[in-house]
């Protein structure tokens, strides 16, 4: 009888103990995705656009019953925890820490751009949580000793002008003027282009940085004209591109080739601010939705996404909405393929599908440091068509839809 009692007690303790272990491995009620957005300040517009894209992804996966988590073999709803950093890095530091230490989010997503991502990088590293970097392309973030960062939606900015350089070289355009805004994002592009062209023997006749808040390029444009270049490349943020193109239009100056960054990303914004004439025959890097990726193996193709996003928000999506949605897709794939539910397993899972996942944003491929190297930015030119503009991809040859109109009429 005593032995029986002991056995019962032992079984009871075993069951209780085992259930305790099982409990600790239980699936969470929600997958907590933590992020920041800026409702005010200099990054408000791009940040809220990205945030809306991420929100859309959360809304969409939850409408399907949640995201499939391989580690638990089931779908789990996603809960988005988001705070407003108001474009302030000091506030962002506290709020990232809040997401990590108080909210204990399972997935940490950075705010828009390099400045607001910068404070999250060391925090994520020290707390050993993988940072899903949306558009923070600063090269300083990606180091061999930090496995806790993955850039999801854009290649590191130093890689952006690869195709542009090849285009200039292939078209045998000489005498290039490069003006760039003095920030990490634009400087790295300018340096890459400068070095590649120099190596190819192309003459750089003008190479200058301007403050990122430059709003008048009139004198700069006349200085450039004095050097008589065949192509003018301007690397800037949207506000710089708008000012540059407006000033170019009003100055009456003509160049054979003019390249700016953001008409290809924020076409509607640029068109509304500078007009069709100023964009005519101009070159840019086209990104989705101007680039139409419909043959995808992860998430929606661009056509379907546009329809669903318009239904959800009542607005046509821009590139930043797509970038926000795209980071959601990378999170989704990570959870679908990670065998274990921990941060290093997530990173390992990402390495597993890197180079194989193709989304509406292009090929997702990261290097060992977590920097995006898959997405390629082709070169496109806007040509007048009726009252509007048509975008032709002019380089690389594999994506070419028309020959470049060079020199511009």
């Amino acid at each position: 009888m005593r032995k029986f009692s002991a056995l019962i007690v032992f079984l009871f303790l075993f069951v209780v103990g085992f259930s305790g272990i099982a409990m600790s491995k239980e699936a969470p009620k929600y997958i907590k995705v933590g992020t920041l957005y800026a409702s005010s300040g200099p990054f408000a517009k791009p940040s809220t656009a990205e945030f809306k894209g991420l929100n859309f992804w959360v809304h969409y996966v939850n409408s399907k019953g949640g995201v499939y988590v391989k580690a638990f073999h089931k779908r789990i709803p996603v809960k988005l925890v988001a705070y407003d950093d108001q474009s302030s890095t000091a506030t962002a530091t506290t709020l990232y820490n809040q997401l990590i230490t108080q909210d204990h989010v399972n997935i940490l997503v950075a705010d828009f751009g390099s400045v607001l991502t910068s404070v999250a990088v060391p925090l994520a590293k020290v707390h050993k949580i993988l940072l899903f970097d949306v558009t923070g392309t600063g090269s300083k973030f990606f180091t061999p000793d930090n496995p806790y960062i993955v850039l999801c939606s854009l290649p590191t900015s130093g890689r952006w002008p690869y195709t542009l350089a090849d285009f200039i070289i292939s078209e045998k355009i000489n005498r290039i003027a490069i003006v760039y805004s003095s920030n990490d994002f634009d400087q790295s592009q300018a340096v890459t282009l400068h070095n590649k062209l120099k190596k190819a023997g192309v003459d750089i006749v003008y190479y200058h940085a301007v403050p990122s808040n430059t709003s008048n390029y009139s004198i700069i444009l006349h200085n450039i004209k004095a050097k008589n270049p065949n192509a003018v490349i301007e690397f800037g943020y949207p506000n710089n591109d708008i000012a540059f193109l407006q000033n170019l239009e009003s100055s009456g100056l003509k160049f054979n080739m003019v390249f700016t960054v953001f008409p290809g990303q924020l076409f509607k914004l640029l068109k509304a601010n500078v007009g069709v004439k100023a964009l005519s025959y101009g070159y840019t890097y086209p990104t989705p939705p101007l680039l139409r990726y419909n043959k995808v193996n992860l998430g929606m193709g661009i056509d379907k996404f546009e329809k669903e996003f318009e239904k959800y928000s009542g607005k046509t999506p821009n590139f930043l909405n797509i970038a926000g949605y795209n980071v959601g897709l990378i999170i989704q794939k990570t959870l679908e393929t990670s065998k274990k539910f921990n941060q290093l397993a997530f990173r390992k899972a990402i390495a597993g599908f890197s180079g194989k996942a193709f989304t509406l944003d292009g090929l997702f491929k990261v290097n060992k440091e977590g920097a995006q190297i898959g997405e390629m930015l082709p070169v496109a030119q806007f040509v007048p068509r009726g009252q509007g503009l048509k975008m032709n991809i002019v380089y690389p040859p594999s994506m070419k839809t028309a020959k470049a109109v060079y020199p511009a009429p």
Binding site: S39, L95, N97, Q102, P122, G138
Partner: protein, 308 residues
């Protein structure tokens, strides 16, 4: 007797603050919030030295903070100084900038505030100049990721806060503090009474810039990756000025209370109701400005309670 009591109370409060910030991470482990709170308290005390005791309102106070952050970072990157020494270099760097800006003290009132603001912007543009990329790394930011140590930098920040508080205690309860207050009341009369106005206010200016520089240095260490826009952000000046005004100028406790209440509210609202953040925080500031225009400590002073 009053002075002795004040010093004892002041040191007691300093000790209490030290003990609190040592134990708070065990209760609330968002150490970034606690670090930023200490940072703003130290900056508020630093600003209090020049504004609270002499009446000079430096709108460009952030210039010293940024100078400190960059001095410390450059000491680490180029001279390979250990972080602790680099923080000290940050303080010295800001102090030297303070010496260069001493002629600004010949101005007064709004003229001084605006000139100081312009000086801090000039510093920002010098540091962010792309042509100085090889020295300051221009606008492309600095990475100190290899020395990142949030635990140690937390306690260094606490030491700087303690130092700033002890400095304010010394000023508040010394003849030097009385001299500064007389300068604040009337410079000409103070000068006629035998006070060396340029020397005394320059010392206060130097101390104030040194504290801001130390804070900037440890901030650079704590965040590890930063841009000129991060450490020369005018928002920092505005926050510190509002915290000091809200708490009560010319005291030890006022800037501490101002920072504690307003920065805690700022974060509480930002975390609990981020969608109504600006509305809630704006309303709060308006209510405080309407009903307690002279700062929280004025409520106690009206009741005859002297606060250190």
């Amino acid at each position: 007797m009053y002075r002795k009591k004040g010093i004892i109370y002041g040191l007691g409060i300093t000790l209490l603050v030290i003990v609190l910030f040592i134990f708070l991470p065990n209760i609330y482990n968002n150490t970034s919030f606690l670090f930023n709170l200490m940072l703003y308290m130290a900056l508020a005390e630093g600003l209090n030295i020049i504004y609270g005791f002499t009446g000079y309102l430096p709108f460009g106070y952030v210039g010293f903070f940024g100078a400190g952050a960059y001095s410390a970072a450059l000491a680490i990157l180029f001279l390979h100084f250990p972080p602790l020494i680099a923080v000290l270099v940050g303080g010295i760097g800001a102090f030297l900038i303070g010496i260069i800006f001493i002629p600004l003290l010949k101005l007064s009132g709004a003229y001084f505030a605006i000139a100081n603001l312009a000086a801090s912007q000039a510093l920002y543009y010098i540091v962010a100049n792309p042509n100085l990329e090889k020295i300051t790394q221009g606008p492309y930011g600095i990475s100190l990721a290899n020395i990142y140590n949030p635990q140690v930098s937390y306690y260094v920040m606490l030491s700087i806060l303690a130092f700033s508080m002890v400095t304010v205690i010394f000023i508040r309860f010394s003849d030097y503090g009385l001299a500064l207050l007389s300068i604040k009341e009337d410079r000409v009369s103070a000068s006629l009474a035998g006070i060396n106005v340029p020397r005394e206010r320059s010392i206060a200016w130097g101390l104030s810039s040194f504290i801001a520089g130390l804070s900037g240095g440890v901030y650079a260490w704590y965040v590890a990756v930063f841009y000129p826009t991060t450490v020369f952000s005018l928002e920092i000046s505005v926050f510190v000025i509002v915290f000091v005004l809200f708490g009560g100028i010319g005291t030890l406790v006022g800037p501490l209370i101002g920072s504690l209440v307003l920065y805690s509210f700022y974060n509480f609202i930002g975390i609990s109701t981020p969608q109504y953040f600006q509305l809630s925080y704006g309303l709060l500031i308006i209510i405080f400005a309407l009903f307690i225009p002279n700062g929280i400590l004025s409520i106690f002073e009206k009741r005859g309670i002297h606060v250190p």
